[in-house]
Amino acid sequence: MRSRRAPALLVLAFACGVAAAEPPVWHLRLANETAVETKDGEVAKFRNLIEPELAWDLSPDLRLAASARLLWDPRFEGWENEAALRELALDWKGEGTAIKAGLQQVVWGQASGFLSSFDVFHPRDLREFVLPPFDFLRRPLWLLRAQRGFGAWTLEALWSPQALMDHAPGPGEPFYVPPPQPAGFVLVDGGQGVDHQRLGLRVSRNFAAWDLAFIYMRVPRNDAVFWRESAGTGVLRQTELHRAFDVVGLSFARASRDTVWRGELSTYRDRDYQTRAAIGGVQQADQLNAVLGVDMTFFTDLEVSVEAGYRRIPQATDEFIEPKARTTWLFQARQPLWHDTVKLGLTVIMNQRDGDSLWRPGLEWAASDRLTLSAGFDLFNGPSTSPFGRFADRDRFYAGAAYRF
């Protein structure tokens, strides 16, 4: 109900500003993305997109930003059609203060990782879940975002009343992963337990060659864990939980001549974890997270990034579904050619514990100022039970075209 009031308030504020408005500026992006599995030539994706965007300066200090996405993909079971609003927000800027209210996306942190707890995903296609840009899979939230400068410091606050969680694939869909179920029991649906509110605070400043940010968030777990209680002999009532936990962390970036070091340190407090226990099945624990990355430039414009992400759940036991510790490596290289009209890229993501990996070589060609063509491969390796290894027989070639008006 609360989330329905937000658009109404936006419309009211919008109506007040229209009188003094500049003409709105429209943009449109048309795109097709096609993927073919290399094993058997089956078309895995034939995604067609129409993405209109609007920016309307209602006054020098007030802007209305809106964007939408129309999607049609006859090949993707479970995600054939979509008509979604991606942004609808009023952005006001005063002396030292800025406020943005409405449907929007916010990204904090120096990596797409542990400090991105406002990221709610739509991971229908798990092969693309790990790939930048996350923009496509991120579900925007109705948010109030405020920013104020205090000298060299900047304070930002986020608040969202919306109950929006990851939209995971359902039974029968290509990337459905069934939740762990105790053997020998019948499960009955116990509904959901969801904490609605999301709150975030960030204090940041640039200090000499350093960027520093201190972050606090209280957010619900976006993916589900399942609480089970007895409902009779051999019957368990299962409740889907998205309960709130605290995130405290800091992020930094430091330039040092030809390299930029960046990192995050954070802790999750009292987060829910799934266990193998038939009764209960959810246990709270803390989690420690660290990311360290380095961005380097070679031969003038060859950009190379290496990033290591480590997370540890000190209280985890063998009962926990999630491993006690996990290290992930990310390698990215990008080489622009011919005055940036062609870009060669390679992304590699590896899980150290499972020994699995994703390799993504790709090429992008700006055929004109408005038309971009792209092509590449998604190559998966590793044991069949690992995050990437389970797609090892579904390597694919992809190609895309995007035209912008």
Binding site: E22, H27, R29, A55, D57, P60, R63, D91, K93, E95, G96, A98, Q105, V106, V107, W108, G109, S112, P132, P133, F134, D135, Q147, G149, T154, E156, S204, N206, A208, A209, D211, A253, R254, A255, S256, R257, D258, T259, V260, R262, D295, M296, T297, T300, D301, P336, H339, D340, T341, A366, S368, D369, R370, T372, A402, R404, F405
Partner: protein
């Protein structure tokens, strides 16, 4: 600082009369310290032309703010559409390495970028990030090689040799206008002593009493590639807010 600029300007103007030419370093310090107001706002239109005659366009909004000895530059990309609303922020420090950030709408956050990026082409043009601002006089050794007249304007001719070894250019020939310390022409020589690029100012104008470059070009002689820049809607001292020059504000496009 103002006293220093005044002294150097007097030095530049008076030098010919006194038959005591300023040193190369003094000339380049005067170029760097030229009074161009507290702030500046303008649009830049770029036309890129390759050796086959294929033409591409770029448009951007350029905002500059001077705070004491520090200069801040914000560039917001307007065209082509795939980089629209991307933004580049530079803090040009006179006494240490500059700070640089790049905001990309696709990742929705500003990212600090290293100083090594200053040698790469800016948006595929023939200008590097370094060419567009941020190079301090002390980063090169400047030697005055003579005087000349160029397009009817008296100029000093200098040779500027970068002190850092990783700079892709061995040296630059620089022509500085005597009347107002503005670089009118520059030639960039590579490590094999071959001419690589040539920059020329095509149009100069006074805007609010300040000499302003309205058009210039950079030609990559070796790659047969040319970039022409036109500066439009240039205004000085418009009262730009320092808030626009915060890294955290890059995700808000300037109207």
């Amino acid at each position: 600082m103002r006293l220093r600029i005044f002294t150097l300007s007097i030095l530049l103007i008076a030098a010919p009369a006194l038959h005591a030419a300023p040193t190369g370093e003094e000339i380049m310090i005067a170029v760097s310290n030229r009074d161009v107001g507290r702030d500046e706002r303008g649009e830049v239109q770029m036309v890129l032309e390759d050796s086959h005659g294929e033409v591409r366009e770029r448009r951007l909004l350029r905002l500059r703010l001077t705070e004491g000895t520090e200069e801040k530059l914000r560039i917001q990309f307007l065209f082509p559409p795939d980089v629209r609303d991307a933004a580049f922020l530079l803090y040009d420090h006179p006494d240490r390495d500059d700070d640089r950030w790049l905001y990309l709408p696709s990742v929705r956050k500003a990212k600090r970028i290293s100083g090594a990026q200053k040698y790469r082409n800016f948006l595929g043009t023939d200008f590097t990030y370094d060419d567009l601002g941020g190079r301090e006089p002390y980063e090169d050794t400047h030697v005055l090689e003579g005087e000349a007249v160029m397009d009817g304007r008296p100029v000093y001719r200098l040779r500027s040799t970068p002190k850092e070894s990783e700079n892709p250019y061995a040296y630059r020939q620089v022509w500085v206008w005597k009347e107002a310390p503005i670089v009118l022409k520059e030639e960039y020589y590579d490590r094999h002593d071959k001419l690589r690029k040539r920059m020329r100012v095509l149009k100069l104008d006074r805007v609010q009493g300040i000499w302003t470059v309205r058009a210039r070009e950079m030609v990559d002689v070796q790659e047969q590639h040319r970039t022409a820049l036109t500066f439009v809607l240039v205004r000085y001292n418009t009262g730009l807010s320092p808030d626009l020059f915060r890294e955290q504000a890059l995700d808000r496009p300037v109207p």
